[in-house]
């Protein structure tokens, strides 16, 4: 493998890993803080992609569509939390799985009713629609570099939020000991709503950013959901730092696996997960 090819695969791995991180961070927060298994997380990713397509056609610019879509998704997250998820925090995990699995079907049908079943594309914004030439035949799309950069920024923002702000402190306290945090006056209900909305927002924004490169099609959430769960399991449930490390690891293994060992590439990520779990059953990082 020559240097240009290696660089392309490396950039692809990082971009894929960071996008997975955005999804996995939301999932691991929702599970770590509220103890809810959210199978519908992929549906929020799909919602983001469809919103990106639908809004950018209406307002004419993808960045504006992303901002509007993010606000809409956070609003939807708050509504879902208040109406549905809030009542499932204390329930058995199986009940949560049944609820969120049903939600996947509901969201797919809603998507079909609202936007139809066709495949759609979202155009890359004008300023980013160029490719960086690497050799005389190969070049790397600038938009993918932008995606990685944006995901890194969001990752940094999430880190700062959780470790340096009062809100983050309350979130961590609520995760550590819910009753004690409540008795100290922290409004746990509001914290849960904020964390849930944040998770939904991250998933939707991931879908929106990915829409120009992944295209917008029915059932796009399920494929990414499985990888997302693998990342959360490898990284350790509830650990955002673990999600980042695991996502990059999965990105590298998956991308280079497909290039170097195409016959077994489908298995490699799961073999990685099995290996990590054999070594550390709780995942790489604690909460």
């Amino acid at each position: 493998m020559d240097i240009a090819n290696f660089l392309i695969q490396l950039l692809n791995s990082v971009q894929y890993g960071l996008l997975l991180f955005m999804l996995a961070a939301g999932l691991t927060l929702i599970f770590g803080i509220m103890g809810v298994v959210n199978l519908a997380h992929g549906s929020f990713y799909m919602l983001g992609a469809y919103l990106a397509w639908w809004l950018s056609a209406r307002v004419g610019s993808l960045p504006l569509a992303i901002v509007l879509g993010a606000l809409l998704s956070v609003g939807l997250g708050l509504a879902l939390e208040a109406l549905l998820f809030r009542h499932f925090y204390r329930r058995d995990h199986l009940d949560q799985v049944l609820l969120t699995f049903g939600l996947i079907y509901v969201f797919e049908e809603l998507r079909s009713l609202l936007w139809g079943d066709d495949v759609h594309g979202v155009d890359i914004p004008q300023g980013l629609d160029w490719s960086l030439p690497l050799t005389d035949t190969l070049s790397y799309p600038a938009y993918r570099l932008f995606m990685s950069g944006l995901c890194l920024l969001l990752a940094l923002g999430l880190y700062l939020l959780i470790s340096r702000t009062r809100l983050g402190m309350k979130i961590r306290a609520g995760a550590f000991n819910r009753e004690m945090a409540q008795s100290l006056g922290i409004n746990i209900r509001r914290i849960h709503a904020v964390v849930f909305a944040l998770g939904v927002g991250l998933a939707a924004v991931a879908g929106m950013i990915a829409a120009p490169v992944a295209s917008v099609y029915p059932n796009m959430g399920s494929q990414v959901l499985i990888m997302c769960f693998v990342v959360v399991v490898i990284g350790g449930i509830g650990s955002v730092r673990g999600a980042l490390v695991a996502a990059l690891l999965v990105g590298l293994v998956d991308t280079f696996g497909k290039v170097l060992l195409p016959q077994v590439s489908g298995m490699l990520v799961y073999m990685l997960m099995a290996a990590v779990l054999l070594w550390k059953p709780e995942g790489l990082f604690k909460q």
Partner: protein, 169 residues
């Protein structure tokens, strides 16, 4: 470079191909499903992609023009190969049902005989059944030009599959 994709993957592949800078340099060939129903989604990345398939939107025959007009009037949408395949299936079923006078649960051999000897006047061209019960049809060579699959010519005339491993009849 030849490939096979359909649906979401097709649009994504064509976009990635163009973004990797390969579009003008290495020609892209594929089965027709690469460009069916996804040209709008793939955008300018689909221009110039060469495919082969048993149908093309721009097939310039009276039968196809009539079909496309009727379809657009009824459904307010343009038909694609999936619509044509559904339509042909309907034609075949009607033909079979007429042969057994509507009694589909009754005498099966008569139904099968009717279906096997069917000549379907389809928007894709006239086709008959092969021994393996697949259509014997023309395969067209197409290229994407200005958002449409333009027919360049016939890639294979009256192509009948060999039915390898098929144990019918």
């Amino acid at each position: 470079m030849a490939c096979f994709f359909a649906g979401g993957g097709a649009a994504k592949f064509m976009r990635d191909y163009a973004a990797a800078g390969l579009k003008g340099k290495i020609p892209l060939y594929g089965s027709g499903f690469l460009t069916e129903g996804v040209i709008e989604a793939a955008g300018p990345a689909a221009e110039g992609v060469i495919t082969t398939m048993h149908y093309s939107d721009s097939l310039d025959t009276p039968r196809n023009r009539q079909f496309r007009l009727d379809y657009a009037k009824t459904f307010k949408m343009q038909p694609d190969v999936y619509a044509v395949q559904g339509y042909d299936t309907g034609l075949l079923l009607v033909l079979g049902a007429n042969a057994v006078k509507g009694d589909l649960s009754g005498s099966k051999p008569a139904l099968y005989k009717a279906l096997e000897s069917a000549v379907i006047d389809s928007p894709r061209g006239r086709w008959t059944m092969s021994r393996a019960h697949n259509p014997v049809q023309d395969i067209y060579l197409r290229v994407v030009e200005k958002g449409e699959n333009k027919v360049l010519g016939v890639a294979a005339k009256a192509l009948a599959d060999s039915g390898t491993g098929c144990r019918l009849g």
